[in-house]
């Protein structure tokens, strides 16, 4: 047993890095419909739709990560609107985005998009803000902290 300890520690260190962030989960239309449902969000929540190719999305994600650090109750859920790939984790890890992570899976992309927000026509970034009391606001494009805080019903710091 004693001889195994260094091995166990090495495995733990490897596992530790893998466990640091939520895995990226493929999303289908049923899960997407739940995500977009304001009644399911009991506290301030951001659902950020993004893609690897979208430079503007990174600016929003950086803001949301900053807001999350200052408001630990704020949930930030990300949905990559492109096919699931393990490589999608890197930009989220770099920005230190904590929270559930989704990406398009096997379901048809149009159906997933429609289920998250029937009004959304594909432009990125697209963000849904939930105030946790049934309020839901959708915004396309870069958002500023004042607008985001207002939509979330939280005080801007």
């Amino acid at each position: 047993m004693m001889r195994m300890i260094p091995v166990l520690i090495a495995v733990t260190m490897l596992a530790g890095t893998a466990a640091a962030a939520a895995p990226i989960v493929p999303i289908d239309r049923a899960a997407a419909r739940d995500l977009g449902d304001a009644r399911r969000h009991r506290g301030p929540t951001i659902i950020a739709l993004w893609s690897t190719e979208c430079l503007y999305c990174k600016r929003n994600l950086k803001l949301f990560a900053d807001m999350q650090r200052r408001s630990p109750n704020l949930r930030v859920i990300t949905v990559a609107t492109e096919p699931w790939s393990p490589a999608l984790a890197a930009p989220l890890d770099r920005l230190k985005i904590l929270g559930d992570r989704y990406a398009y899976g096997d379901d048809m992309p149009e159906a997933v998009a429609y289920a998250i927000d029937p009004q959304w026509r594909g432009a990125l970034p697209h963000t849904l803000f939930f105030d946790g009391r049934g309020g839901r606001t959708a915004m396309t494009g870069i958002v500023d902290e004042a607008a985001a805080s207002h939509a979330l019903g939280i005080a801007q710091r």
Partner: protein, 396 residues
């Protein structure tokens, strides 16, 4: 190390392993749900002068060329365009393209993504023996910085000329180095006079294009190239710019072509399409947000305005394409109905004065953007879907 400490460390190690296994299991479960590689659907097609249907698409790190001699019912074994594998962009807005030179050679272009984010090169391969095999691809531009050269659009004209226009961020990069602000990207053009073997140094068509929408191209009635792209007009209006280039490849004019004034700091990822009548009337379809709703529009573009602008399809119509043969015009688009995606067309026989609607197909799985194709006086819709494959629909 005392026994108590050893126990603590061992307990921590076991906990760590358990957490690691859990994370690995959920990763594996996530991966398991998408174990089959997704078909990469971004495709382009044309009818060659011999009447055969040609399509190009990405397969891993190869562009493949497919040929059908019976309008898509049967396909010959595909030809590998780039024998040496390389990364290839193949989403709907930025998929490989195919064209035929005035001397009958097939050309295939694509964007090769580079290691740095958003960086890419415009590649072109020239078919030999009627497209049975291809020369090694060349990089079209002289600028070899590892920056954005992407979203290429290819046109062929008389006298073996080839024109490639693409989205290029060299001016943005220079501005950043100089600490200056720069809106969007730029559109550059390179021309070849020998059917795509060699290209002249590229020139800039305009500053301040949008960053990730396909560029539309068509020959004007006088044979000179026209390009239409989504632009970023001050301060952030993502309308369209129409640029004319001389047959010799020099910029002639560029003017604002749509006036919907969609203000957004974001990526619509939804480019226009263009076709020119023999009379010189410029027909276009495009996507914009107007009065708070994103819609597909059709209109006839002229300097300073749009004639006959109207919406096409319903609230979720998207990625429309346009083709024209004399007085006949076809608009094709796809539209999600809440459950399935439908392929629609509108066909005009009177130069765009009136249109008839057609419902062409439906799919329950993923699909590429539809393309409108011409073969002489005939018009077709081409649509590649995950479940049904590559199909064409005659638009009589």
């Amino acid at each position: 190390m005392g026994p108590h400490r050893r126990f603590q460390r061992l307990a921590r190690a076991c906990l760590g392993i358990a957490a690691g296994l859990l994370a690995a299991a959920s990763q594996a479960q996530a991966a398991d749900k998408v174990a089959m590689p997704k078909a990469e659907l971004g495709s382009s097609a044309l009818f060659a002068r011999d009447g055969s249907l040609i399509a190009v698409a990405k397969q891993g790190e190869h562009v493949m060329l497919y040929r059908s001699r019976d309008e898509g019912r049967h396909w010959e074994p595909p030809v590998v365009v780039n024998v040496t594998p390389e990364p290839i962009s193949a989403d709907g807005e930025n998929r490989p393209k195919v064209a035929e030179t005035s001397e009958g050679a097939l050309l295939v272009s694509w964007t090769r993504p580079l290691a740095k984010p958003y960086a890419g090169e415009i590649r072109l391969a020239r078919g030999i023996d009627g497209g049975a095999r291809f020369d090694s691809p060349i990089t079209v531009h002289r600028d070899r910085q590892e920056i954005t050269h992407r979203f290429e659009s290819m046109l062929t004209g008389p006298a073996n000329r080839v024109y490639l226009a693409w989205i290029d961020k060299r001016d943005l990069e220079s501005a950043k180095t100089a600490g200056k602000r720069y809106r969007g990207a730029a559109v550059y053009l390179a021309m070849s006079e020998d059917g795509g073997q060699r290209f002249q140094p590229e020139i800039k068509l305009a500053d301040h294009s949008c960053e990730c929408c396909r560029i539309a191209g068509a020959l004007d009635a006088d044979g000179a190239p026209l390009f239409l792209w989504r632009h970023v007009f001050e301060p952030n209006e993502r309308d369209h710019m129409l640029a004319k280039v001389s047959r010799g490849g020099t910029p002639v004019s560029a003017h604002r072509a749509t006036f919907d004034r969609w203000k957004v700091d974001g990526c619509p990822h939804h480019g226009p399409s263009l076709a020119v009548a023999p009379t010189g009337v410029v027909h276009a379809v495009w996507f914009n947000q107007a009065h708070g709703a994103g819609r597909v529009f059709y209109g006839r573009l002229r300097e300073g305005g749009v004639d006959g602008q109207r919406t096409v399809g319903g609230e979720r119509a998207e990625h429309a394409d346009l083709a024209l043969a004399d007085q006949r015009i076809a608009i094709v688009w796809k539209e999600f109905d809440g459950e399935r995606t439908r392929l629609h067309a509108e066909v005009s026989r009177d130069g765009g004065a009136t249109f008839e609607s057609r419902a062409l197909a439906v799919t329950e799985r993923a699909s590429d953007q539809p393309r409108a194709l011409r073969r002489g006086g005939e018009l077709f819709a081409f649509w590649r879907t995950e479940r049904e494959g590559m199909r064409v629909f005659p638009l009589q």
